[in-house]
Symmetry: C2
Subunit: 409 residues, 2 copies
């Protein structure tokens, strides 16, 4: 398949996103999708964003349209620092980098810290694009199991000790501790503190990917790992926090940030210099204006109310359709529900039946470092039309009835 460029080694043969491969089915207007991790476009505050953008362009046209500082526009850096402080984390200017979406922050960490063959630890299951980025960089991936309370810190400790005994040092440890992708799970507070102790003791860079924390359905979300470094100060030089406005303001603005130790931020800034130089300043100033105007909390409240309702509709429909045959933990925030149904050993084999029934989900296999069939699958409720959730689940139940072995139908 790669005959034209035979000099490219197998290592670099890249792997496409398992989720994006499903997008071709979205052109079918009959399709009901629980697949993509898209926020609901119906909730976007286009008028508010448009007004902020027109205001900053009129006031500061040259700053909007010229190259900007690689670290980010000062106005947005100030606004994000204030947002982090509200969320309990004090971040100095040299500890913050604005990125073109939070995924870019992870890409820069990989570029700065990972080489072919580097050992990298990820909780399992985990965000598929993280696995994709690490595989593209040639990392040696090792999965650490996670359950409904997040990463298994005992299993992690065993792996860290075995690695240390073997003279290996993981370059990164990646977790989504709050309303995780794909599981919706949230790392418990005792595990958060234990995780920080472990990375401090083993001197491993811990990446806390936190795009969903603001979407908390039951009051404030748990404190971030970054903010908990106040209790475990030895962990602070090892924690890098990735955050985003994609799930709260709008993903199309491609605005995220990286907060972490100055030495790591310095390396990420240089990776950004050679990548996109700077995140579009106009969009940065637009977001800063929106944040400074105090509009984000009301927007997030609208999203939380809508997503909580959709989660409840989805959970109710799943229980009604599958009864005791389905297993899932109710997510306390975010966009995803992770489920498995008795009789389905490989969710990837269920998918063609679902597509035939005109419903989409993401099979679990794409979220694991080790590739083998997985029973579980991811359902995204955030982007779904609430009126269609019940019908989508009914289609899923028909697909399961076709795919399950006869005695399980």
């Amino acid at each position: 398949m790669n005959t034209a460029y035979p000099f490219v080694p197998a290592l670099r043969e890249p792997e496409g996103s398992p989720i994006r491969e499903l997008f071709k089915y979205l052109s079918d207007p009959q399709m009901i999708s629980f697949a993509g991790g898209y926020p609901s476009a119906a909730l976007f505050d286009a008028p508010g964003i448009g007004a902020a953008s027109a205001q900053v362009l009129a006031q500061r046209p040259a700053e909007c349209l010229q190259y900007g500082a690689t670290e980010g526009a000062p106005a947005l850096r100030r606004a994000l620092t204030a947002l982090m402080a509200e969320r309990g984390a004090t971040v100095a200017p040299e500890e913050l980098l604005v990125t073109t979406g939070s995924q870019q922050g992870f890409d820069f960490l990989v570029k700065a810290l990972v080489e072919p063959g580097s050992l990298v630890l990820v909780e399992e299951p985990t965000y598929s694009a993280t696995l994709q980025a690490l595989r593209l960089a040639g990392a040696a991936l090792r999965g650490i199991p996670a359950d409904h309370e997040g990463i298994d810190v005992e299993a992690l400790e065993a792996v860290l000790e075995a690695a240390a005994a073997a003279g290996e040092r993981p370059r990164l440890l990646y977790v989504v501790p709050t309303f995780a992708n794909p599981t919706g799970a949230t790392l418990s507070l005792p595990r958060r503190l234990r995780l920080l102790e472990l990375v401090a003791r083993h001197q491993v860079v811990l990446v806390e990917d936190d795009p969903y924390g603001a979407l908390s359905f039951d009051g404030a979300p748990p404190p971030s790992l970054l903010s908990l470094c106040a209790q475990v100060p030895a962990a602070r030089p090892w924690v890098v926090h990735l955050a985003s406005l994609s799930k709260t303001l709008a993903p199309g603005l491609r605005l995220g940030w990286l907060a972490g130790p100055a030495e790591i931020v310095r390396r990420a800034v240089i990776a950004k210099q050679v990548s996109d130089l700077c995140t579009p300043p106009w969009l940065q100033l637009t977001a800063a204006q929106y944040l400074d105007d105090g509009r984000l909390p009301a927007q997030v409240a609208r999203e939380v109310a809508a997503y909580r309702d959709k989660r409840d509709r989805l959970a109710d429909a799943l229980r009604q359709a599958f009864g005791a045959r389905i297993r899932f933990a109710l997510p306390a925030g975010g966009m995803f529900l992770w489920a498995a149904v008795d009789g389905i050993e490989d969710a990837a084999a269920l998918l063609p039946h679902a597509i035939a029934e005109k419903v989409l989900f993401v099979p679990g296999a794409g979220f694991y470092a080790e590739r083998r069939p997985r029973a579980a699958f991811r359902l995204s409720f955030a982007g779904a039309d609430p009126a269609q959730i019940g019908e989508g689940v009914a289609r899923l139940a028909r697909a399961v009835a076709q795919a399950a072995p006869p005695h399980m139908r």
Copy 2:
């Protein structure tokens, strides 16, 4: 300097931009800068861009603010394909990727094709961020000399043959053939054709970085290497063309594109999936609207007139101040003039004197793969205030008078 993260190997100790290190001096309001490669903010069409952005947001809010296709928004892909056709190159949809600035396109090529130790060829001198990106990736850099007619194709052929004899295959060959950064030089037509024959014969991916081609002061620019593949069809699978709206529309939009063989574009798309997922759709649709409205040619004409005038002012002032002691070739377009003055063996040693006189330029050393003192330096005329060019050159002459050996003052 890196005690906190001792596990990071020396290979990955990144190098900052030699140009960005000068930016701290720009806060001095007395400073006259010929340093940064910034277009003139005074020429930005902020009203036109603002109107296009408001229009697309009103018409297609969800498309503007939601995640978009990694390959780029269909409307912009169509507009850019049309622009390429006007410039003589036919590009199929699967041969085009929208990037967040053209530099990101090069970053993806590096990610897809270069590993630590990979041999990469660059014309010398060349764009400093290209060297930075390649060094960050651990490439083995080899410079090929260039003169006022661009890369020396005889020298290139000798290097390619020696590499082939040694069983080495360069992963990339990077050139800026039209109004080059830093030299302003333009590759002659005979050399263009010879270059294409060489990459076809040696099966080396040729990166044609072309951000400046539209800024041609004397009629149409020479045909791009990509368009010349019509005459050397065997070269087509080996040519990747990088282009940008940064130097014509506005750099702050961060809109560039990569046009090349589908197999390479496919790899770049995957690199983009794990980096920024997509370029901000709102800005893409804004640019597409602007292009579809036919506004770009008039904007480029304004820029060409202004930059030609500034080039002439700079060249006249240099000749007047230095007479026969200065050597430079008049650039036929773009933003840069590359000069050397008798008596200055190391332009980096001249720089502190220039800063004391309150004028900035970029010393030549940062544009070479091999690091050693260089006599030449880069003067950017595009961003300069035309009324200050003469005074800037007078300051430069005073700095030279201080830095040159006594008999040369």
